[in-house]
Amino acid sequence: MALKRPHSVVPGFGLTLGYTVSYLSLIVLVPLAALVVRGTNQPWANFKEAVFDPRTLIAWRLTFGTAFIASVINAFFGLIVAWVLVRYEFPGRRILDALIDVPFALPTAVSGIALTAIYAQNGWIGHWLQPLGIKAAFSPLGIVIALTFIGLPFIVRTVQPTIEDLDPAVEEAAALLGAPRLTTLRRVILPAIRPALVAGFVTAFARCLGEYGSVIFISGNMPMKTEIASLLIVTKLEQFDYAGASAIALLMLLSSFVLLFLVNFGQWWSTRAQQREA
């Protein structure tokens, strides 16, 4: 079907279509194509070596592991924060709400050095942890802390609207039927929020996988110990190992796309399920 004429009397179809497609091609499609080509246009052995090299494997494990832990922490606390913001009135609620967006707005380099300053041995929190034998900065724990900082808004802002849309009548019905409050929370409210919580978790997780700026300061970047995958890509680039960098980048991109596809699919599926029920 050729795009002969727009399906509307409003002018500007050709112009906007042409501009949009050109812009997207130049800025998005061509560069991404270059990545795919560069990454796959190498002997399979080289690709395997770049991706399964011990140093790379440790970086993968570290990246996925810390992202997962951070996202779990955010799922738990993020849920509480979202609930508190929607359901309760207390002094400072608006400020709390505004603070949630700080990790969105703050440049990652700034959060990186700020977090390092706090959790280093002589930092505000670091110097309390030291006698306990806990090393926050320059360890995987530091990475988890940084990723928790980055990921919190994703969970809170995804779950908040769902909590706002909860029908108070359902909770009242449960109470009238004799359910104690905690039971209602567990069996009525939580299942209703779960899809949004999962979606938020996956989105935060995908974001944490690729994080760079806020992590590289607090992690110490020690190869085989606290080196994350995105840093590895940069290192390979500086060594002009474009093929190796592309290989790792491709895998990281693939995981992000798969995760985001899962989120979208999950939402589509649960909307379908709701429609079937209705």
């Binding site: 409003v10 179809f13 906007t16 706002e164 009242e172």
Partner: protein
């Protein structure tokens, strides 16, 4: 942000307090503390040092590059955002969903990869590397590269604000304008633009915050050439790596102030958009 309805059945007060304290404590330690730390560390060596750090020539050069990049990026992305949202909201055509997914891509791409891909295209060993070199054009490790990478990272912001709004507003006003004899530009300027102006400003503010603060992508593409290809965030990194902590935080405090101003503007505009631009349902139409 909506006002919470009155909930008659709610958690026992003890639990409520516990939850509130947990939330406040968590957010306070995790988020508020670092923000405060930026300013404390920045002023650690006194106000004079602070001022000299932010007026240092290299810092000023970084500031200039950051502002220039942001200006170019915002302009380019603004035009794109308007074109894309007009296209998607006013017309129906096959492939619309594909277009929407493409626009969302930068959100799924790690900053480092966002920089890498431009090196792969425009770098010395990239696709256009040879032809660029023969014309003596330098894109990566120079300002154009920084701008391109920043454009990639920020272009969804404005489009994503405008598209749902314009879809919600529909095309009837534009159709009416055309029937009354207006041409495309008249329709856009007099009818559409006034209806989306606050969402536009909102998108610009978000995009700007991201453009000025982008680190990972720019770090990869810039080559860290001091005085020439360093943006403000990169300058922070350099100072930090030289153990010049207070100076680093001083420069960082500028970026933090920008972030805080962005948040305030964002909150104000959210309210404004809700009041003015989301079409209200009158009692008759309900």
């Amino acid at each position: 942000m909506s006002t919470a309805p009155k909930y008659r059945h709610t958690e026992p007060p003890g639990l409520q307090v516990a939850l509130i304290l947990t939330a406040v404590g968590f957010v306070g330690v995790l988020i508020l503390l670092p923000v405060i730390a930026v300013f404390t560390e920045a002023l650690r060596k006194g106000l004079a040092f602070y001022i000299s750090s932010i007026t240092d020539p290299l810092a000023l050069a970084a500031l200039r590059l950051t502002l220039l990049t942001a200006a170019i990026t915002i302009t380019a992305n603004l035009i794109f955002g308007l074109a894309a949202s007009w296209l998607i909201a006013k017309f129906s055509f096959p492939g619309k969903n594909l277009l929407l997914s493409l626009i969302d891509i930068p959100f799924a791409v790690s900053p480092v990869i966002s920089g890498l891909i431009f090196i792969l295209v425009f770098g010395a060993q990239g696709w256009f590397g040879d032809s660029l070199a023969s014309h003596n054009i330098q894109i990566v490790f120079a300002t154009p590269g920084v701008v391109l990478a920043t454009i990639f990272v920020t272009f969804p912001f404005i489009a994503r604000e405008l598209i749902p709004l314009m879809q919600e507003q529909g095309s009837e006003e534009e159709e009416a304008a055309v029937l009354l004899g207006a041409n495309g530009w008249q329709t856009f300027w007099h009818v559409t633009l006034p209806n989306i102006r606050w969402a536009l400003v909102y998108g610009v503010i978000l995009a700007n915050a991201r453009a000025m603060g982008e680190f990972g992508a720019v770090s990869v593409v810039s080559g860290h050439i001091r005085g020439r290809t360093n943006t403000l965030p990169l300058h922070v990194e350099i100072l930090y790596n030289e153990y010049n902590f207070s100076a680093a935080f001083a420069v960082a405090s500028l970026l933090t102030l920008l972030a805080l101003v962005t948040l305030v503007a964002k909150a104000a505009l959210e309210w404004k958009i809700r009041v003015e631009e989301r079409p209200a349902i009158t009692a008759e139409e309900a």
